[in-house]
Assembly symmetry: C2
Homo-oligomer: 429 residues x 2
């Protein structure tokens, strides 16, 4: 249900540019170091500033007794806060929203406190916001699964028999999840040319995958599934995810146990975690599901969200990213709620900070495909960029910039960016 | 190379039964709570006792300055110690070995200190010894891969084309790794009968997989592979692993992204981590590899180990586990060193405490198969137990007990047990 923190009429005393991703209705959480050597702490983005929540904690501006006792924002990750549950998340959000309102004097009229609590985002170091225990990647866009299946098995056998019955997913690698801005090294590994034996080489078919992911909190004990009706209580917030993929390494390794080194060299996420509560005005019903899913995957409130997504590609010859994909989170066939219910149906335990990503979010049109594999149809239809350059896959020095936002009435709930440049492989010299 | 800590002639003042897994040549690390409510700390097993290393730390009995400064044993996990590297691991091991010798008076002659530092293993609570960041499971026994491939694809296509070229593996679930003694709840999930639509049910084809795993430390930064010649520096020690598997859930879900909920309900490990150094006398060359692996997987000292392994099955009608499988770690085609080199060849970073498991360790004979799937050949050849009961797969109330040891000259380097009982599924009532 809507609450005051998402009211379109809300105003803040902080300057917020018209196209900002971070109006007062958003208040995404991140972890940052205000200066070199400073202890990382939790902040929220507002306009072009970050508000240091550890300062608000120190000044005892949170009224909720659990927040006062545990001080979750004086930590180097969001995990302690994620563990506290939606009631506490809402209490924190209401206090932060209240303190940022144009008519609340606490911060507005206290210049010394403002100087202590606010930093320009451009001046701080944004860190990976979460200690990710486990990272799971789903495969929940029907268009993406159909595209990939068509390429590799033909249109008649595009979807595997299980695909329409359950949200297919796999365990990913948590250690190599990195935050936007960190460069990605092109991976080396074993690849198998069609006409010869396998060899050790740099990946030549480096790709991005446009995804979103959600962080779990508080989670469930081992052996006790999260019922579909309870799943929302355990979704803290969302980030952009670039699930970098080395298609040639993946192709040779993945039968029968799935993607492994073709994925585990890097996964880029955006630094700001947008609370699920901020997205509530953008909630809608997902696509009709036929066949009807089994009951453990049914019977909940709408769990899809209208979030516009874009991928920009910037080559060394381009001065800015050129948008090569426009998609939408609502394109997902399987919802986050269904993903979480399915993931735990066997008793698998979720811990605060676990990351569940969507899989590539492709839409129905060719410009909405969320990977180069699909956009160039395995490299058979290269993209031509404004510089005249062509791309089948990612080349060294290219920068991939993902962004996304929910479009409100006069404001945007934005996700910032998940961006990274690709460096040459070590084995390429 | 051998060092004094593995000398067969070493003796300790602690009583060690003749068939003990924990003579002075072993000194495996675990994490325990000496009494209810006590802070967990690190200990080593010696005979039927656990030696509390945090007490040795407090008394400043470690001479190594890094150990004195960081006090890694006063922690609830082995991760800080694993991060310190082999040189420190050896310094710690040498001090502990020295303090336990029959001719070292420090502990032997100080009754008060002994009372503080020693506890009967049977009286303490053994905990999961490591905070596992990422858990990877390989598929490195040729016999196992051949058996499974033969069952599902026929003898001619048993091994996939990649299998002889690289150690196939996949990302597992870290959150559901549990320590020996914790019961395992039979999972519910989606299964697909051959003659009908998928349905929600308790798994009926519950199985164990006999594996071993090694813990990583210190690991590598993202983007910087561990060369095959350096892999041993990053192998801290080994445990027994039971990679519980729900064959029916797995069969329906695993194409194309690999095992997921068929595995992530539980993975049992033994509580004692046997240092790689303790296994040095049992090192041997692995099987010949044909075709010759690519160079990044070649050119190291022998990296196989002669460790006898057993699986016992105890039904409610049996008074003790009945041994149904005898195998050996040396049966692995791909070595731990090759697994680690391959896992990082793409730049994937390993962190202290990451767990890399072998995959099911099956040998060449029918009684050496490491899973019921193979032992009963998909249930077509049920096992008959001494009680007259038959088993195709695991039933509720059954207890699976894995054990293993390296047989030295008059002593055993043992792994203790990885044991767990199976509880009825929640959805079965």
């Amino acid at each position: 249900m809507p609450d005051a923190t998402t009211d379109a009429a809300l105003r803040t005393f902080v300057e917020v540019p018209a196209d900002s991703h971070f109006p007062i209705q958003n208040l995404p959480y991140g972890v940052f170091a205000p200066y070199h050597g400073a202890a990382p702490r939790v902040g929220v983005a507002i306009g072009e500033q970050v508000l240091d929540l550890s300062v608000l904690e120190e000044k005892r501006l949170f009224e909720d007794r659990r927040l006062r006792a545990q001080r979750p924002f004086s930590h180097a990750s969001l995990n302690p806060f994620m563990a506290m549950g939606r009631e506490v998340w809402r209490a924190a959000r209401q206090t932060i929203s209240y303190l940022l309102r144009h008519d609340t004097p606490t911060l507005r009229d206290d210049e010394a406190l403002r100087r202590e609590a606010f930093h320009p985002i451009s001046a701080v170091r944004l860190l990976l916001p979460v200690e990710i225990g486990d990272y799971t990647d789903f495969y929940s866009s029907k268009e993406h699964a159909t595209n990939v299946g068509t390429m590799f098995r033909g249109a008649e056998n595009a979807l595997q028999p299980n695909w329409l019955h359950l949200p297919v997913g796999y365990h990913g690698r948590a250690s190599s999840v990195i935050v936007s801005g960190e460069a990605v090294r092109r991976p080396c590994g074993q690849v198998k040319p069609d006409d010869g034996p396998p060899r050790y080489a740099a990946s030549r078919l480096l790709d991005f995958e446009l995804e979103m992911g959600f962080f779990v909190g508080p989670g469930n004990p081992l052996g006790e599934p999260i019922a579909i009706g309870d799943t929302e209580k355990h979704i803290f917030g969302l980030v952009l995810v670039n699930d970098w993929s080395a298609r040639d390494i993946q192709k040779w390794e993945y039968v029968p146990l799935g993607p492994f080194l073709g994925k585990s060299f890097a996964t880029t996420i955006s630094p700001w975690v947008v609370p699920l509560d901020a997205l509530d005005p953008f909630r809608l019903a997902g696509p009709a599901q036929d066949p009807e899913p089994l009951s453990y995957l049914r019977g909940i409130a709408p769990c899809a969200y209208n979030v516009h997504l874009e991928v920009g590609l910037q080559t060394p010859q381009l001065e800015a990213p050129h948008v090569i994909c426009r998609s939408n989170l609502r394109n997902l066939y399987w919802s986050m709620c269904q993903q979480l219910a399915h993931h735990t149906v066997n008793g698998c335990n979720m811990r605060p900070g676990d990351l569940l990503a969507s899989g590539t979010i492709s839409g129905p049109t060719e410009d909405s495909y969320g990977s180069l594999l699909e956009l160039t149809w395995r490299g058979t239809k290269p993209l031509t960029l404004p510089s005249g350059e062509q791309r089948k896959f990612i080349e060294d020095g290219d920068r991939v910039v993902m962004t996304g936002w929910a479009e409100g009435d006069g404001y945007r709930i934005g996700f910032g960016e998940a961006a990274a440049e690709v460096l040459p492989a070590h084995c390429d010299s």
